[in-house]
């Protein structure tokens, strides 16, 4: 800059100029501030109002009451009971202050429970409450409540808990509920409802598959809270909506009766209404008590259940797979008839049959057999011989058509549907040609044949009704017209009559006639080899004994119900499974007579199912204490 002499006049001009610059800058800043204020308060108002509201109002989810499950007559299967509960919120625990012993004393928890609480506390996520006691008595609840100020982190609340009046009888049908785990919490996009203490979701069975219907819509207790979490006031709450009541096709009475009638045996029984496919009983025994699962099962009880060789934790109805044994024979016979085999054609049974270089043994020397007597007396030789002269693809297709190896559309979490082998299937699966011995094995339900107990009921149901019934569990599901079976009705009539003879004439199950006037049951026994052919019935080792199977429908003339039953390692179908089916069928027609049959048995077993289960648990607890000591 050129050095000029700056006078006070210059200075005064500079000052004025710079005052204008300064004033302008101040006006600009003022404008900026008002503009910003307008942007925040007017343009963005909606956004910030929302944020302010979400600050002010906190929503405490109020869990909805879980929907009931009722049976076809409206009797309760899964309901809710008012309950008191005590939890510990790990986050709110004070350091160096162990509240567990005090709470355990108040609730009279045993060491096992205390151990469970400690391990759950150790691996908890802080905000997730750890259950201390569920369904505590009112006195215990009150005792904890008055001491809450001295028990930081402990929370006592009132709510509802799931209750299954029939306990183990419905265990595998309904499953159980439980608190959501971390994975389920993530899977539901961190739904805060799942964190509410005492809120249970379906974990197994229908409780799991029907979750969307049963859960309902949570309400909210809307509260105004300060930044520090202090409650200012309660606002109008958002009401919760209870879950829907789901009506099942199950007959609760029958379900319970069957469970009791099975005694201590390991097995499954399914009963269907042949006109509609409605499943009336869906029993897998022995079973756990879903009530203990829903409350959080104790370690001893869990150990007892998982170590039991009768597999009480396995749903045998949906996941048990067994060789069908001779129960396949009525279906095979229908296939033979369709393929033009003359039912009068006789096959001589000398007590066995030579196929290739192997001799297959029959159960007895039956002598000359036609189709009717072969079903009635369960002659393997007849079915081996006839199986060899018929088209294996056609016969196996027929059996499959009647339900063996079929997957049903049912609300069951896991369904194993087994295998009905055929030449095509064998080619695809094992890349080999169908051989004579495959026909032989398949025609008596051995070899690759694997079926589940539902199929064991559907098959006689389809034979009995002549309709392609589909098993159903939900009453509310729309009923579609059921197509008739694509078979000659006369053939069906023939098979039904033969099955009638099994029970009522000279068949394998004559010991299991219904004790009712004018109502006859038709059936078919089955014995599925577990260990080795030829060792039937002579096994003293329970686990190596054959499975006993029985399929039935009644009445023979105008069928209403069909039942399929498997008793694991029960030996002959006629001796183990058929009497249970007989009594269960009796129940459907005459409850009094059925209970009359049950009473002496339960006396012999040592009490009702509930009594025996309680005793078993007590014994197991005592035994495990003894081994620990």
């Amino acid at each position: 800059m050129k050095p000029i002499r700056i006078t006070s006049t210059h200075q005064s001009i500079t000052f004025s100029r710079r005052m204008i610059v300064l004033g302008g800058a101040q006006v600009a800043v003022g404008g900026l501030l008002i503009g910003r204020l307008g942007w925040l308060a007017v343009a963005q108002n909606e956004k910030y109002q929302l944020l302010s509201e979400s600050n002010r109002v906190q929503l405490i989810p109020v869990p909805p009451r879980r929907g009931w499950m009722i049976d076809r007559y409206g009797k309760p299967i899964a309901i809710n009971r008012a309950s008191f509960r005590v939890d510990i919120i790990p986050q709110q625990l004070e350091k160096g202050r162990d509240v567990v012993p005090e709470v355990a004393r108040l609730l009279q928890l045993d060491e096992e429970e205390v151990a469970r609480i400690r391990s759950e506390l150790a691996e908890s996520q802080g905000f997730h409450p750890v259950q201390v006691g569920e369904n505590v008595t009112y006195d215990q609840y009150a005792a904890v409540t008055v001491r809450l100020p001295d028990l930081p982190g402990v929370q006592a609340t009132r709510g509802y808990s799931r209750y299954y009046p029939d306990g183990p009888a419905v265990a595998h049908l309904v499953g159980y509920v439980g608190s959501a785990n971390a994975k389920e919490y993530e899977a539901e996009d961190k739904n805060p409802l799942l964190l509410v203490p005492g809120f249970k979701i379906g974990k197994q069975g229908l409780e799991k598959t029907l979750e969307p219907y049963l859960r309902g819509t949570p309400g909210g207790q809307r509260i105004e809270v300060t930044a520090r979490g202090r409650l200012v006031k309660e606002l109008d709450p958002k009401p919760d909506r209870s879950g829907q009541t789901v009506q099942l096709t199950i007959d609760e009475g029958l379900q319970q009766y069957v469970a009791r009638r099975m005694g201590d045996q390991s097995g499954a029984l399914v009963a269907v209404d042949v006109t509609s496919g409605d499943m009336l009983a869906y029993v897998s025994m022995p079973a756990f008590d879903p009530n203990s699962f829903s409350e959080g099962i104790g370690r001893t009880e869990w150990k007892m259940l998982s170590e039991d060789d009768h597999l009480p934790l396995l749903n045998k109805v949906a996941q048990g797979l067994y060789p069908s044994g001779s129960t396949i024979k009525p279906a095979m016979a229908l296939a033979f008839l369709k393929l033009g085999i003359d039912p009068k054609r006789r096959v001589n049974c000398p007590g066995g049959y030579q196929i290739g270089n192997r001799y297959f043994r029959c159960d007895a020397v039956h002598g000359p057999m036609d189709m009717h007597s072969a079903i009635e007396r369960s002659c393997n030789t007849y079915f081996w011989a006839t199986g060899l002269i018929t088209d294996p693809q056609a016969t196996t297709d027929m059996v499959k058509y009647l339900g063996y190896g079929e997957e049903f559309d049912l609300p069951i979490p896991t369904q194993r549907y087994g295998t009905m082998p055929s030449p095509d299937w064998l080619e695809k699966k094992y890349h080999r040609k169908w051989q004579g011995y495959d026909s032989a094995n398949t025609s008596i339900g051995q070899g690759y044949v694997l079926i589940n107990p539902m199929q064991l009921a559907v098959m006689p149901g389809r034979l009995a009704s002549g309709k392609l019934i589909q098993p159903r569990l939900l009453m509310g599901k729309p009923r579609k017209p059921i197509p008739a079976l694509d078979v000659d009705p006369e053939h069906l009539e023939f098979v039904r009559k033969a099955m009638g003879s099994v029970v009522n004439d000279h068949g394998t199950a004559v010991g299991s006639k219904l004790p009712l006037d004018g109502i006859l049951m038709a059936g078919k026994t089955g014995t599925a080899q577990v260990f080795r052919l030829g060792e039937r019935g002579h096994q003293s080792n329970w686990a190596l004994r054959d499975h006993a199977l029985f399929i039935a429908f009644a009445p023979v003339e105008k069928p209403r119900y069909a039942i399929g039953c498997i008793i694991e390692h029960g030996g002959f179908g006629a001796s183990a499974a058929a009497p249970i089916v007989r009594d269960s069928m009796t129940y459907l027609f005459d409850k009094q007579k059925a209970f009359a049959a049950l009473a002496p048995l339960e006396k012999q077993w040592g009490g009702t199912l509930a009594e025996r289960n309680a005793r078993q648990l007590a014994n197991f607890k005592a035994a495990s204490r003894a081994t620990q000591a």
């Binding site: 800059m1 002499r5 700056i6 006078t7 006070s8 210059h10 200075q11 500079t14 000052f15 004025s16 710079r18 005052m19 300064l22 004033g23 101040q26 800043v29 003022g30 900026l32 501030l33 008002i34 910003r36 204020l37 307008g38 925040l40 308060a41 007017v42 963005q44 108002n45 956004k47 910030y48 109002q49 944020l51 302010s52 509201e53 600050n55 002010r56 105004e224 809270v225 300060t226 930044a227 520090r228 200012v232």
Partner: protein, 370 residues
């Protein structure tokens, strides 16, 4: 000015419009503090009212000071404040902690507050002494830089970034108006832009964090960014007319931190909306305009520079605080004068206004003399 036969002359000569304006702002502030306390005059409104009235009296009393007295006091006051700042620093060193005030029995004196008007008066006095011909010379720059730099440094290490920035801005404004060459301002501005990342490295942890969250408030919505986020929610949720007196949920439910001190504007805007906020900004603008007019009408160089500098002090107070609460500037801890609870800001602003009133009276009486 009120001219009436009934009112005695000395009273009538007071700048009533300004006093009315300032009293309105302060009264509005008391109403906001009343609401911030949950609808109670305790613990803030009463105390603040007393402090305000006291300093209003002081300011009115100061208005009788002559320009000559102010001029004469400029350097001594500056010197005394500087000594106090050093004293505070020494005390802080002894007690091994941050120290911003001197405990003088009943009152706690925060010397950095006095430095705001003191630096303005000192620099105004300095540039009055510099002959017009020398203004673009090095001699006119470095003494001012020292006069400003030493207290600024002392305040920065207290640490009180907000006050430091204010002192520097006030000083720079006076230097700018004094007519220093442009490069004096352009060069440091460029330097700051370059040096800012380096300076950042030497900042205190909490200062760093404040700048971080200013640049990206979402980075830490529950930590340091919480202040700005909640303040914006409070202001934004107010809408045009606000949620109504005593109905601000952000402040009443404690979501808004410091709702009665630094973030009092957010408390106010939540309840009074854009209308209340804009009105308050306009009121402050009128006060500042009044001060700038005093400067423009002043016929002495000291009067011009001092009046403009004092007005700028009020301006920076208000604008830094508002930019801070509306998320336009980092949170540096500058209160909103006359509205925020706390005596020091009231004291500083009323001292500035007292000096401005004195300068203004001088103009009027000077006019009569001329």
């Amino acid at each position: 000015m009120i001219t009436s036969a009934i009112i005695p002359r000395p009273l009538a000569r007071l700048p009533w419009r300004l006093i009315f304006l300032v009293a309105s702002i302060a009264s509005f502030g008391l109403i906001v503090l009343y609401s911030a306390a949950g609808g109670s005059v305790q613990p803030w409104a009463v105390k603040q009212g007393i402090v305000f009235l006291f300093f209003l009296g002081v300011a009115v009393g100061m208005s009788w000071m002559s320009e000559a007295t102010i001029k004469a006091l400029a350097f001594p006051v500056y010197g005394a404040t500087l000594v106090m700042l050093i004293g505070v620093e020494a005390l802080g060193f002894v007690s091994k902690g941050a120290q911003r005030w001197l405990d003088l029995g009943p009152v706690r004196l925060q010397p950095s507050e006095f430095m705001k008007p003191a630096i303005v008066l000192t620099l105004a006095r300095f540039y009055e002494l510099v002959p017009a011909a020398e203004i673009r010379k090095w001699r006119a720059i470095w003494p001012a830089a020292v006069l400003l730099g030493v207290p600024a440094f002392l305040i920065l290490v207290q640490p009180d970034l907000g006050t430091c920035i204010m002192v520097v801005l006030c000083g720079v404004t006076v230097m700018f108006l004094a007519g220093l060459p442009w490069w004096v301002f352009a060069a440091p501005a460029g330097l700051v832009a370059v040096a800012a990342p380096i300076a950042y490295q030497f900042m205190h942890g909490y200062q760093k964090k404040r700048i971080d969250t200013f640049l990206n408030p979402e980075s830490d919505p529950l930590g340091a960014g919480y202040h700005i986020a909640q303040s914006k929610i409070a202001i934004g949720s107010g809408g045009i007319w606000g949620k109504g007196f005593l109905h601000g949920s952000q402040s009443h439910l404690d979501y808004l931190p410091e709702g009665h001190t630094d973030f009092v504007f957010a408390t106010m805007a939540e309840e009074w909306g854009f209308a209340g906020g804009a009105l308050l900004i306009l009121a402050f603008a009128m006060v500042i305009r009044w001060g700038m007019k005093v400067s423009a009408n002043s016929r002495t160089r000291f009067g011009q520079l001092a009046a403009a500098g004092l007005s700028a002090t009020i301006f920076f107070y208000v604008s830094i605080n508002l930019m801070m609460v509306m998320g336009l500037a980092p949170v540096v801890g500058v209160p909103l004068p006359l509205v925020s609870f706390g005596g020091s800001a009231v004291m500083t602003v009323m001292l500035c206004l007292g000096l401005l009133m004195a300068l203004e009276r001088q103009q009027r009486t000077g006019a009569r003399l001329a």
